[in-house]
């Protein structure tokens, strides 16, 4: 190849050609993502959709999903916020291990989470045995659905919240400290308000993750309509029996996912949040 003559270098057409090249390759991926989803929506929007949406099994799955993912998001908020704050604010021995444990569920297949939970909380498990002695049994209960959701969705919140806390300028905290604020006052009146965008994003993300949880739930909580059959489980079961219900549920989940993304974008744009 000859060295190009710089004086004759013309950025215009070459740039355009490259732009088309990049966009052309990239559009294949867009097509791969868009075509199946569009087909799903198209198929789901059948005449019977309204009948399926009114089916009692669909409604039970929907309300159970709403309930469990909201409860688990509450648990994540209560336990995850102090954890995220600790990780952002202080360093301590073994911190890297704590971080590893928190990040693992993000990359771990949820099925493995389900098996791990079943082994730990099961009748012969390290946590299950003492609970069993108290007459509490977690597997196959609605509480198990919540635990599975906290397991897989909690890390999303902790990560996001931690970054939110960590990116606050230390000077702001120090200024409050100089003014005489104690650690709790700093947390409540300085850190949480300044990190609120990150906290909200984290909560919404983990709620959505909990809502879509499947693998850990089906192993740890089982599948029982009205008790542990959340929407993703109903979709899985429906695919084998009633495709219409599975499609109706898929459409609802898709809609909720789209809403979540809109909400996240809205928060990201700087629209005031509570």
């Amino acid at each position: 190849m000859n060295t190009p003559d710089r004086s004759q270098w013309n950025p215009g057409p070459a740039h355009t050609r490259w732009a088309w090249g990049f966009a052309g390759v990239g559009s294949l991926l867009v097509a791969l993502l868009a075509i199946p989803l569009a087909t799903l929506i198209w198929t789901a929007l059948s005449d019977e959709l309204l009948v399926y949406l009114r089916a009692p099994s669909l409604q039970r799955a929907l309300s159970l999903s709403m309930l469990t993912s909201s409860v688990s998001t509450g648990v994540i908020l209560l336990l995850g916020t102090p954890l995220a704050y600790t990780l952002a604010r202080w360093s301590f021995r073994g911190k890297a291990w704590v971080e590893l444990i928190i990040d693992l569920p993000l990359v771990l297949p949820p099925l493995i989470a389900g098996i791990a939970l079943l082994l730990a909380f099961g009748r012969n498990g390290i946590l299950g045995q003492p609970l069993d002695a108290l007459g509490l049994r977690l597997p196959f209960t609605t509480a198990a659905v919540v635990v599975a959701q906290v397991f897989v969705a909690g890390p999303l919140y902790v990560r996001t919240a931690r970054i939110g806390f960590a990116t606050i300028e230390p000077e702001l905290r120090e200024a409050a400290s100089v003014e005489g604020a104690n650690e709790m006052q700093i947390f409540r009146h300085v850190m949480v308000p300044l990190a609120r965008r990150a906290l909200w994003s984290g909560l919404i993300l983990s709620w959505a993750r909990a809502f879509g949880e499947f693998g850990a739930t089906i192993i740890f909580a089982g599948n029982m309509e009205g008790r542990t059959q959340t929407m993703p489980l109903a979709i899985f079961v429906g695919f084998e029996s009633n495709l219409g219900i599975a499609l109706g549920l898929s459409l609802i989940l898709l809609l909720i996912a789209a809403l979540v993304l809109l909400l996240l974008r809205w928060i990201g744009r700087g629209v005031p949040v509570a």
Binding site: G21, V25, L29, L118, G122, G222, N223, L243
Partner: protein, 292 residues
């Protein structure tokens, strides 16, 4: 150049992803079939006769219900040894799902179904060769209990004891619907509210037979209802027999897929499963022979 290469790469990925997706988990790459023949040949013919067929081995894909996992794997290995140059790869799943996959254009070579209904639907739509549908195995139900039987279940009537945790299959899959018909029959012989009381004990309707076996093995529930063949495959579990008059016989059917690219080999595999050798093999895994 780079641009073209990357386009090619993306296209190749797409093509392989599309073609391979339905069978990605279990398809044996064609190449692995050859060594089976190659390693056996030299011992039989020390004079190093060149292998009779240089043609690429034929890879059969077979849709199999998960209940047949161990038995089918053994059937496949035996068939491969008897038919050098043919490899068999299994895809294990639920019959309704696999029938739906057939409808959506999946083209395995042979379809084995745990439910008569799904085979009949596939035959009606001419997805399989309707005139070659045959019953190749039968199975009946049995109650499995954790090894130490924590709930002290001694009789079928005990399944109605309040507070028990029972695992059954979701009614939409063959094991689930068979369980419900069995409970209907027991209802008549044990007590009029037997079925309702048993169903009130159901902790979970599992989406397959294998999850029931695993969770009972872990002791997470007090009893599960599965096929006899599953109990045979898990010898550590305690069992409770269900008398034939109350039991439900499930038939497993086999048929070559109409759109198979290897119809002869597909028919040969079906014939092998139905042969005395195939039937004997299935019996060792706890199945009843296809012919009553």
């Amino acid at each position: 150049m780079l641009c073209r290469l990357s386009v090619l790469f993306v296209l190749l990925t797409l093509v392989t992803a599309c073609g391979g997706a339905p069978s990605a988990s279990s398809t044996t790459p064609p190449a692995t079939g050859a060594p089976v023949a190659a390693t056996i040949e030299p011992t039989l013919a020390p004079t190093r006769v060149p292998p009779p067929t240089v043609a690429a081995p034929i890879a059969l894909t077979v849709f199999v219900p998960a209940a047949l996992t161990e038995a089918a794997t053994q059937l496949g290995t035996t068939f491969e040894v008897a038919n050098p140059g043919v490899t068999v790869a299994f895809e294990f799943g639920h019959s309704p799902t696999q029938r739906a996959q057939l409808e959506q254009g999946a083209t395995p070579d042979v379809f084995l179904s745990a439910s008569r209904k799904d085979m009949d639907l596939a035959a009606e739509q001419q997805l399989v060769l309707a005139d070659q549908v045959q019953v190749f195995a039968r199975n009946k139900l049995i109650v499995i209990l954790p090894p130490n039987n924590p709930a002290q279940i001694q009789t079928l009537a005990d399944l109605a004891k309040p507070g028990l945790r029972l695992l059954i299959g979701v009614p939409d899959i063959p094991i689930g619907s068979a369980t419900l018909s069995m409970l209907d029959k027991l209802n008549a012989s044990i007590a009029p509210d037997y079925k309702d009381r048993v169903l009130a004990n159901v902790a979970s309707q599992e989406v397959g037979v294998k999850p029931i076996v695993s969770k009972i093995s872990l002791g997470e529930a007090d009893a599960g209802i599965v096929y006899v063949s599953d109990a045979v495959a898990a010898p550590t579990l305690a069992t409770l027999e269900i008398p034939d008059e109350s039991n439900v016989i499930v038939v497993f059917t086999i048929a070559p897929v109409a759109a198979s690219a290897h119809p002869e080999e597909a028919a040969a595999f079906a014939a092998f499963v139905l042969s005395d050798e195939g039937q004997a093999l299935l019996t060792t895994y706890g199945f009843l022979p296809g012919a009553p």
